[in-house]
């Protein structure tokens, strides 16, 4: 009972319609195919209200009637409803140190198009990178499988500190970006490319990874969930009751730089013993495949290959490699335990390059979590591995747009805009 906050404007009839549009849409997403009557039961709304709302959703192209019921029960059969997966797409993009990724999903969050290209973002600079992103998006929209679909919006994941409200990248050290107004740039580039004006959403890769896991991963619908990126940096996206924890300056979840080991190795941030310097991909590669990585900042382009080499050597049974991975796993576990003590999630998901390394990282990580997380927890904290691969953040970008629809926050697009 002692919770919700003040920040509210005046509430009007409009808000309640919005809320209920969202409820019905969600009910259909979860129950499809289902009848209006079932939706009414699921949401607690009246049949009459559901009818009215469903009509509106159909008008807007979000829902469709898909024939009569299959079941043969007594009584009039209901007409089945499902999300209309034909009319819309949402694009998710990710910039990272060594690649660009695009995922296009339909209303069901099924992947319709996926593009991936290696790209040394650090060398190219932000302008060039934005141009490539826009180009990727425009190319995707040309694909035959997207023909005739209306664009719901574009969600972009960037590894760094973001002002999501403004769509600006404050600081992305691993890309060498500072104060980049990415949303504005992309808006402009997309307009020039002939795309109608749509929402462009910019967010941290860890945050969007968490959204992707929440909405689409194998652990989905766990509302208190943390996603940890295993890229060059380590970041955490924290979902609390299904909502992103952003913090006062939008920098919550900066798990990479919590101090773990006094006098530990020097970190990119200038301090010593940060989690990132002990368990970041950079640190791991330098210990496991020192012959494949140069000194100085990682150029990135062959990160995936280097990680694959590490996996190979570990599988060969090289003790030194396995020990190094276990050590990193232990540090990671200490970091996760700290996070768990403060935020108390249900599950922590290791993503990015941590996923392929999980066979060696995970046991040590779990043991360390067990040892350091506060004791007798009902249920207990789970530490799991992502199955979304390197597209997690991009998927999250797209998923965030779908979610906005689901909650009724963004009013569903009007038929005119299609």
């Amino acid at each position: 009972m002692p919770t919700p906050p003040p920040p509210t404007g005046p509430a009007g009839l409009h808000d309640i319609r919005e809320t209920n549009l969202g409820s019905v849409l969600r009910a259909i997403r979860e129950g499809a195919p289902c009848s209006r009557a079932e939706v009414a039961a699921a949401t607690g709304l009246t049949k009459a209200t559901v009818s009215s709302i469903v009509t509106e959703l159909i008008d807007r192209g979000l829902v469709r009637e898909s024939g009569a019921t299959a079941e043969r029960r007594v009584g009039r059969p209901g007409v089945m409803l499902s999300l209309d997966d034909r009319g819309f797409v949402a694009l998710g993009l990710e910039v990272n140190v060594d690649y660009l990724t695009l995922v296009a999903v339909d209303l069901l969050e099924r992947e319709v198009v996926a593009l991936h290209e290696p790209f040394a973002a650090r060398d190219a600079g932000p302008e060039e990178c934005a141009a490539r992103l826009a180009d990727l998006a425009l190319r995707a929209l040309e694909e035959p499988s997207l023909a005739g679909r209306a664009l719901l919006g574009v969600g972009v994941a960037v590894p760094g500190m973001i002002d999501a409200a403004e769509g600006r990248v404050y600081d992305a050290p691993n890309l060498g970006w500072r104060n980049v107004p990415l949303r504005a740039w992309l808006r402009e580039l997309l307009r020039k490319g002939g795309t109608p004006d749509v929402p462009v959403l910019v967010d941290n890769d860890a945050n969007l990874g968490a959204v992707a896991e929440y909405r689409g991963g194998h652990l989905s619908h766990t509302p208190d969930l943390v996603y940890i990126t295993g890229e060059v940096g380590i970041g955490a996206g924290v979902l609390v009751g299904g909502a992103l924890l952003r913090g006062s300056t939008g920098q919550a979840g900066e798990i990479g730089h919590i101090p773990l080991r006094r006098g530990g190795p020097r970190c990119g941030c200038g301090r010593r013993g940060c989690l990132e310097s002990l368990a970041g991909i950079d640190a791991i590669l330098r210990q496991t495949v020192p012959d494949l990585v140069p000194a100085g900042p990682l150029p990135g382009t062959d990160l995936a290959a280097a990680v694959a080499a590490t996996v190979e050597r570990a599988q060969e049974g090289r003790g030194a490699v396995q020990r190094a991975l276990r050590r990193s796993g232990t540090w990671l576990g200490r970091g996760v335990a700290t996070l768990a003590n403060l935020v108390d999630p249900d599950v922590v998901i290791l993503g990015g390059y941590f996923a392929p390394l999980a066979p060696w990282l995970l046991p040590a990580c779990r043991a360390a979590v067990q040892a350091h997380a506060i004791a007798p927890r009902r249920g207990g904290l789970r530490v799991e591995v992502s199955e979304l691969g390197l597209t997690a953040a991009a998927r999250g970008g797209a998923a965030a747009l779908i979610e906005a629809l689901d909650t009724g926050r963004t009013p569903p697009p009007s038929p005119a805009s299609r």
Copy 2:
């Protein structure tokens, strides 16, 4: 944009009224004395709507008209509104290792009655303690200054892990409590004492301390705020956007047991090097006034005196004492930095017994935060000292009840119940 969560029932006309009742109540709280027209301007609602809502609030005894305006401006003068501080009280209680505290506040959250008594809760056991709490509440309600007031509810702070929804204390190691259905007990005791059935709210002392600071402290209205208890345990109450961060099992904010120093001193939880074992009041007293504290668990009853002795010795200029405090301050700072990296609050407030020790703890603490928190923060994290003393948690218990009114979540009490 990528945030709010699913958990919503059907929205109806009722909800919007509730929301707006809350908005108007808050506007009056912040603007009083103010006219209906001013409230309309502040909330964005129509004059007509405001009139209707204000009438309802007056009927319910929450608001009153307090004469005409003082200002002499052209035009018809408005009739001034303020919260009616005469009709209601909310009680806040706190159990701690060495004392019980009660605070009664009116709608303006002004203290109407305060009771404090030393009490060795650990020795007495939970039943006895609940009885004493109920007795304290009943005694308070007899006070002449509360005569004729209706009771809004009772909020109880307990240092331990709480299921706030059920009002049950899972585990309070420092009290020696396990699985105590405190709400049920208190409900029963209060009923026997002849009190009408009111909401009884049980929560963690750190959480309620945070609520108290948010609503009444000198840093109030900072929506991203962390309150740290300095009692026998160290706990953090985390407010995110004005709402409590609870976590999946209600155990968020367990900052006391984050591992800071490998091979550090043994902690009560069985591990080594927890923050609590390095900077808890227990640890501090054992280093600064070893002659005044026995071995074994602190009996508690003279904690205040022992802390006072520490302050005295530090003021006398004893180097060893000052050094010990600085050391603890530094560890505290490392803990705060970790918390800040993960949760990104605006301000961290040190409460409880940390407050009197702040002159020595705070500089070291701030320095450590500066050194370990992630670098270039807009505005920067503030670390401040609570001014609420040992009543913070109890005040928070009462404040949480007032807040429930303010948000319209709890429907304002009907005139009948007064």
